[in-house]
């Protein structure tokens, strides 16, 4: 099921879990609005991680906590500090990419 949501002045399409269905609709403003919904105050470190995730998604690399930890962008410990309530799923939602299916 696809739903339309308005963030600021932009209208985007999401799935029922609130993940963007089309990364090309993503803007930093949309990301910031989703972060607000998730209760996260974005810093430069947060955005660095978001950029990395989008990059990987465009290269069609499946994401996992292990891969992010090995990326050199952020350690697993810091990743959890940045997005405490579920690092991979929340950061992916802010990044406008699909929810990762990895169990690791």
């Amino acid at each position: 099921m696809v739903i339309e949501k308005t963030y600021g002045e932009l209208c985007v399409t999401c799935n029922e879990q609130g993940y963007l269905t089309d990364l090309s609709q993503w803007t930093k403003e949309v990301g910031a609005e989703i972060a607000k919904e998730e209760g996260i105050e974005m810093t430069d470190r947060h955005w660095e991680v978001i950029n990395y995730l989008q990059d990987q998604c465009r290269k069609e690399v499946p994401l996992s906590i292990r891969k992010v930890g090995k990326s050199g962008i952020v350690s697993i410990k810091e990743f959890y500090q940045l997005f405490p309530k579920g690092p991979l799923k929340i950061s992916s939602r802010i990044a406008g990419i699909p929810k990762p299916v990895s169990c690791i």
């Binding site: 499946p62 996992s64 906590i65 292990r66 891969k67 930890g69 350690s75 697993i76 410990k77 959890y80 405490p84 309530k85 579920g86 690092p87 991979l88 799923k89 990895s102 169990c103 690791i104």
Partner: protein, 171 residues
């Protein structure tokens, strides 16, 4: 007189409280049990749920420095392997099955036991050793991984399980 009861089916799903904490007890050292436990603990953290693991009896091998990378899958007494028990007991069978299983797991991006423990620790999973089992196997803290959060009695572990929506799971 008020004698109606609320129909549970009409209650909203939102009334269900999410799991807050998973308390896992690992008592076996076969690789399939160890990974099941680690994946559950890590999966909980990934969903924002607290998790803790209590290593007891043979489960202690999974955090014993010298043994944790040498865990095996059981080829005898394990019907899931689908090989005759007598063949499973032949020399080298366990090692072969273990090697094959580890290769498959690496393909799925599942880390080796040592690295998995580091990931768990970094993600905030608490790792506890059982005091009684340590005494029984004559193990000291020095024999166990550096990331260990401490040594507990079963009473201490239950104390830590306090609170709403904590689940305990024995593996």
């Amino acid at each position: 007189m008020e004698n109606t009861i609320e129909n549970p089916v009409t209650k909203s799903v939102d009334d269900k409280k999410p799991i807050k904490k998973m308390m896992l007890i690992l008592s076996k050292a076969t690789i399939d049990n160890v990974y099941a436990c680690f994946i559950l603990a890590n999966g909980a953290r990934m969903e924002g749920i607290e998790s803790e693991i209590f290593f007891t009896f043979f489960g202690l091998e999974a955090i014993t420095k010298k043994k944790l990378e040498k865990l095996h899958v059981a080829t005898v007494g394990n019907p899931g392997m689908h090989i005759p028990t007598m063949l499973g007991g032949l020399p080298g069978m366990e090692a072969l099955a273990t090697k094959m299983m580890k290769a498959e797991m690496e393909k799925l991006d599942i880390p080796p036991v040592g690295e998995f423990l580091e990931i768990l620790s970094a993600s905030g999973t608490k790792l506890w050793a059982c005091k009684l089992a340590m005494d029984m196997f004559h193990l000291d803290k020095e024999n166990l991984i550096d990331d260990l959060d401490g040594v507990l009695t079963v009473g201490d572990f239950y104390e830590r399980a306090k609170g709403d929506n904590t689940h305990l799971l024995f593996i």
